[in-house]
């Protein structure tokens, strides 16, 4: 891994990711993306697959460092590649690109964290799929989700978007999310998740 690896400690990297520190994000990309791309392309994946895995890995790590009980017991590099490998196997196991699926890669991480990571990985895949399909939603649905995200009071949302009642906001938001869920369910990536992994 060369000299660069020692520029930041594992904790500094995790703290940097948590705070969106541009220098740290750059460092992680420059240090790990090529290695990950190498790993993926040698296993019949593409660079674009590698980029999806990189983003998912960072998303999982981001969620992980926001957990109350967050505690890193392995170096960042091991943590990063353990998550990335697991995600790669998870994504491509069903599409036959990877023939030998194994959970061994998770063994680097303590059992309790393993369980939590599985949950975060599933959540991350849903997040990426949501982002992908949110673009298809109508402007009104997008506004509704955006305002809900901002924790805006329901009656204020109703006023801003011309709904007659709070119930109308609930109904419409439900409708928007259902539409989104239906699109996500059609996505091969969602269908590739095993029943255990699928929410």
């Amino acid at each position: 891994m060369g000299e660069e690896e020692n520029i930041f400690s594992s904790i500094e990297i995790l703290e940097g990711i948590k705070k969106h520190d541009r220098e740290i994000l750059n460092f992680v990309y420059e240090t790990y993306f090529n290695q990950l791309a190498d790993f993926v392309t040698k296993r019949r994946g593409t660079e674009s697959d590698a980029w999806d895995i990189f983003q998912d890995t960072m998303g999982v790590i981001y969620d992980y460092v926001h957990q109350k009980e967050f505690n890193l017991e392995v170096p960042f590099q091991a943590f990063f590649f353990t998550v990335a490998q697991k995600l790669w196997f998870k994504h491509y196991h069903k599409s036959q690109k990877v023939s030998n699926f194994t959970n061994e890669t998770m063994d680097l991480i303590p059992y309790e964290s393993n369980e939590m990571l599985r949950e975060l990985m599933r959540q991350q895949i849903m997040t990426r799929l949501s982002l992908k399909y949110m673009k298809k939603l109508s402007p009104n649905c997008l506004k509704l989700i955006k305002f809900s995200n901002m924790d805006m009071d329901t009656s204020l949302i109703a006023k801003k978007l011309n709904y007659l009642s709070n119930q109308a906001v609930y109904n419409q938001r439900r409708k928007c999310l259902r539409k989104l869920l239906n699109w996500i369910k059609q996505d091969p990536e969602y269908q590739n998740l095993t029943d255990y992994e699928r929410p």
Partner: protein, 241 residues
């Protein structure tokens, strides 16, 4: 789907003990609720905005690196020059396409005038079902999502279809809107065919589907309907008349 407020309370740890137990149990036994909860967490759940921001930052970093790499490679390998030419050509074609799309959009903006619901409501009140009337009210209030929801409750009502299509146009859902208009045109024996044909042409134009738009506009221009003059104007703009 249950009220999403409960999802929020669960995530923020605000559910009371009884509700908490009931909610957890529901998640275990109700797969569709579990799926909706999962989706909620990835769209509205806590810190999702910041996570989306992180993803955008990573994309930005990657783009900067990719640009840098493209420049250095282009000086090293002649084949890259060819690739560059292809990229430039693609950009050129893309720009031309974009320009076309922009001019189609400009024409659309020039000719699309939101239809008022009141005239049609007055002229067809007797045949209207309650959901369509409700839908019209939402349409007048510019609450197009709610209007569509109402119109969907009366799927065979042709006026409902027309205003459902118009609501979709207002929401930028042009492809979905054409389906509504096509159904009216196909039905043929109704008062709304002229309007449906006109708005369908505008949707085709807005989507950038030039040949379909022209075909449809020419039909309107050949007819003696109320949209004849406007159709001819657009065809002239497109150098097709």
């Amino acid at each position: 789907m249950k009220d999403l407020e409960k999802f929020k309370k669960y995530i923020s740890g605000e559910l009371e003990e009884g509700d908490l137990w009931e909610f957890k149990k529901s998640l275990e036994v109700d797969a569709s609720l579990a799926a909706e909860f999962e989706l909620f967490k990835s769209t509205i759940g806590s810190h999702i905005n910041k996570k989306h921001q992180l993803m955008n930052e990573l994309n930005d970093i990657r783009q900067r690196h990719s640009r840098g790499r493209q420049i250095s490679i282009s000086w090293k390998r002649i084949s890259a020059i060819a690739a560059g030419v292809v990229i430039l050509l693609s950009i050129g074609i893309g720009l031309i396409k974009m320009q076309h799309n922009t001019s189609y959009q400009a024409l659309y903006d020039q000719f699309f005038i939101a239809e008022s619901a009141s005239f049609n409501v007055r002229s067809a009140t007797n045949s209207l079902e309650q959901p369509v009337l409700d839908g019209m009210q939402f349409y007048e209030l510019h609450n197009y999502d709610a209007a569509i929801e109402m119109f969907e409750k009366a799927p065979n009502n042709l006026m409902g279809k027309l205003y459902s299509g118009l609501s979709m146009m207002e929401l930028g859902e042009f492809e979905e809107a054409t389906i509504k208009f096509e159904a009216i045109i196909k039905h043929n024996d109704n008062l709304f065919v002229d309007q449906a044909e006109w708005y369908q042409s505008l949707c085709q134009l807005r989507i950038g589907n030039r040949s379909n738009a022209i075909e449809s506009l020419q039909r309107i221009a050949d007819d003696n309907g109320v949209y004849k003059t406007k159709a001819i104007k657009i065809l002239k703009e497109l150098n097709e008349y």
